[in-house]
């Protein structure tokens, strides 16, 4: 685990570009390196190029330009079946005409591994995903979660060093998905294999990964561990895409070291941390997480700017309260508060003043 972030890259993308039609680039100048043993998630909206990257890595798509390396050697010209990469597909792709055991034996058979060893390995892999009793069944006789486990076992049974997963949990219901998320990360770390995981579900990305690469428009917008990604988004796309986020628009009034003063479009002033704004007069989008908004004056720093707000809606959600406010002309400003005995329940129509710690509010690109 300690060496998982070491600099010797196992998977490397160097200036990789991909175009299907010769007119538009689906992947634009991608540079990425994944160290051995890391669980990396490619996250992004559909059409952002993340699946294309995965397919290029697996060998089902060829890069239009650039180099993809695996363990230091270029794999651009190696056909998929010689890459030795395990892969779990979105629809599991379990061969319907074979039993579970036959499905698992398939990669061993094509590698010409003897029958005894094959059976041993199949059994071990099935036991690993707690499906030992299902070897004689057909995929259609299993539930979605069970199929998922088998697909995972099949991708791992030939002991690949790299496993690719293409939205493998997309078809499962919420509870099962959460359970499988845990099991997959657990297994990946236990076996010490490198995993590249593709999803469009940000919760999944945050809970499972060592690092997350956020894709948009054919580029990696930010690549960072989940906490950094959530708390310190580097641009407004990442801020919007990861977790719930409130944005307000305005112009930079002044920048003083680690503090920027932004004049919002309605004339109000607020303090932020400048991230990718550099000069006064630049338009910016400021981003603040709902749980970092304060309306209790006692908890704010003295002298900071506050904003007027009107409560529009109060939603009781059990563990938290979710309150929708109108702030500086934005009707979708969300505040989340913990359900604690002394927590105030805001009433619609109530007028209040809100504020936050300047370091929690990030002034990003417009």
């Amino acid at each position: 685990m300690a060496e998982s972030h070491s600099s010797d890259a196992f998977v490397e993308f160097e200036r990789v570009q991909k175009s299907y039609d010769g007119e538009t680039l689906v992947v634009k100048d991608l540079n990425l390196s994944v160290p051995r043993g890391e669980f990396l998630t490619m996250l992004g909206p559909s059409g952002s190029g993340k699946t294309t990257c995965l397919m290029m890595l697996a060998g089902f798509e060829t890069a239009t330009h650039g180099d993809i390396r695996l363990g230091g050697t270029s794999i651009n010209n190696i056909p998929p079946h010689k890459r030795g990469i395990g892969m779990v597909f979105q629809n599991y792709a379990l061969f319907p005409h074979m039993t579970i055991a036959e499905n698992l034996a398939f990669p061993l058979e094509v590698r010409k591994i003897g029958k005894d060893e094959r059976e041993k390995k199949v059994k071990r892999a099935l036991d690993m995903v707690e499906m030992g009793a299902f070897g004689g069944r057909r995929p259609a006789q299993l539930s979605g979660g069970q199929q998922q486990r088998v697909a995972l076992a099949r991708a791992l049974v030939f002991e690949p060093e790299l496993v690719l997963m293409d939205e493998p949990l997309g078809a499962l219901d919420k509870q099962l998905r959460e359970k499988m998320q845990f099991e997959i990360t657990h297994l990946a770390h236990q076996l010490g294999i490198t995993t590249v995981y593709v999803t469009h579900d940000q919760t999944e990305a945050l809970t499972m990964s060592d690092r997350v690469a956020v894709f948009d428009d054919g580029r990696i917008q930010q690549i960072a561990p989940p906490d950094i990604l959530y708390e310190k988004p580097e641009n407004s796309f990442v801020a919007q895409f990861i977790g719930e986020n409130n944005t307000l628009r305005g112009v930079v009034k002044e920048i003083k070291g680690d503090l920027a003063l932004v004049e919002l479009d309605n004339g109000d002033l607020i303090d932020c941390k400048p991230i990718n704004v550099s000069k006064v007069g630049e338009r910016t989008q400021i981003s603040i997480r709902p749980e970092r908004v304060e309306f209790d004056k006692k908890r704010l720093q003295p002298g900071v700017h506050t904003l007027k707000a009107e409560v529009l809606e109060f939603v009781y959600m059990g563990d938290i309260f979710r309150t929708r406010l109108r702030v500086a002309g934005n009707d979708d400003f969300i505040v989340k508060t913990r359900n604690a005995p002394d927590q105030k329940r805001l009433q619609p129509g109530e007028q209040l003043e809100i504020g936050w710690l300047p370091q929690d509010c990030r002034a990003l690109d417009a």
Binding site: K82, G86, M87, A93, F95, P96, P107
Partner: protein, 556 residues
Amino acid sequence: MSDTATNAPVLAADGTPLKRSLSRALRVQKMRALALIAPLLIFVLISFILPIGDMLFRSVENQIVENTLPYTVEELGKWDGASDELPPEPVFRDMYFDLFLAAEMKRHTRLGSRLNYEASGMSSLFRQAGRKLDDPGKDAQDTLEEIDPRWGERETYYEIFNAAEGVAVDDALLSAQEKRIRWLADEPPTGEMNFAPSAEASALLPLAARVYTSFGVITGLVDNKVVEKTKPMESLYLALVQDVTRPGFVDDLAAYNGPQKDALAALATAGLTAPNYTQIFEEVDRNWAKVETWRIIQTHSGPYTSGYFLNAIDMQKTPEGAAVQPENKRVLIQLFIRTIIMSLTIMGACILLGYPVAWLLANLPMRQANLLMMLVLLPFWTSLLVRTSAWKVMLQQNGVVNDVLVWIGLVADNDRLVLINNQIGTITAMTHILLPFMILPMYSVMQTINPSYLRAAKSLGATNWTAFWRVYFPQSIPGIGAGSILVFILSIGYYITPEIVGGTKGVFISNRIAYHISSSLNWGLAAALGTILLVVVLALYWCYDKIVGIDNVKLG
């Protein structure tokens, strides 16, 4: 409420058993569904299933012999066909009168044709007899008139045989003859009866009464004429001679109180001799005096026969049971085998040619796939006959294919290939015609095979070929199966194409069936061949179901 015992029926809210109220609720749905399909069901039943059932029934039906020659068949039953002796005189006698009546109704040629299927020569034998049986009757008429001129007048006969007012009628005789005539008549008779046989006359002159009654029924019922004013048919005179010379006639006549007693008495004392029917038939044709002829009639006299089915598998029905046909007549089993082998060949060719096309169709991008699909479906828009004729143009010795081969130099000009009027022609043309039926089911199955299976196989380390063979191909088998069944069943019964391009060596069993339906008119054999074909197809279908499972077949 809810503590129902485990085996007690579950009750609905109103206390009726749940099953009953459920079936009542479903009944309305079922009736509605039935009403929706009823028009088609009735149409299919009337226009398809019933005619086919009737046609198949003809393969065992053989009532023509018994219905045309009822009395002969009865007498013939007493004869031992295995003996070398001719049937006794009564058989010839009944044959004379049965055949005479059949000839009168123009039915004897049909019977001849029917028996001709079993032995050639029967047809002409019957046709000839129908023409020549009049002569002995005319001779008898002359003899009777010489004895007493009253026998030359038609009213005399009417007076004797018709039951006048208050005289007992022989109902049994009348209804028997009426039934017989109705069967012999081509169309349902529309005339009115104006004659009833007198019971007294039929007791005294049984044969003549029978003949006169059948004449009376024909005249009244079929021809719609007055019996009294119509000249009787010639066989009546012979029957009368037969009756007056029978033993015990004189005694019976003494007890007789009906009309024309003295005229009959004149006949009884005229010293007439009973007709010799065996001799009559021998004079008509020598073959009537052969035991073989009678054996054939006797063997095929039952109302149902296995003869057509035996013929269909190159056997024949003989008095000793089923026997193999002589070698020069054995063609049908060979034809069946050829049909099956050629159908399998066509099916195989369709699989080989269709599989790559179906694969391409299923894997091309939408636009190109649609274009290709149009090309596959294009033949459906052209008449079958046109396509087959096009192959005739392509394949003939001076046709396109040969011309090209000669032009390339592969074939010498004076040694052109024979590509048509043989099995090559049939297989080529039918493969082309049936190919879409193979491609479409394959395509619809392949379309459902997710491309990720192939990717998964490759990612697991399989080469392109292994991935195809171990993962893609097994999943496409239901498509191959569906296409194969379709093509095989279509081709095994194909008619038009083999007829046009098949010559003599490339024809199918269906062409033989068509020949028997339209040329030889042996519908019984055609029906038997059709039934066998149907059974073969059903058997193959059953085998396929057992081996592959019909649930695995997908047509779309």
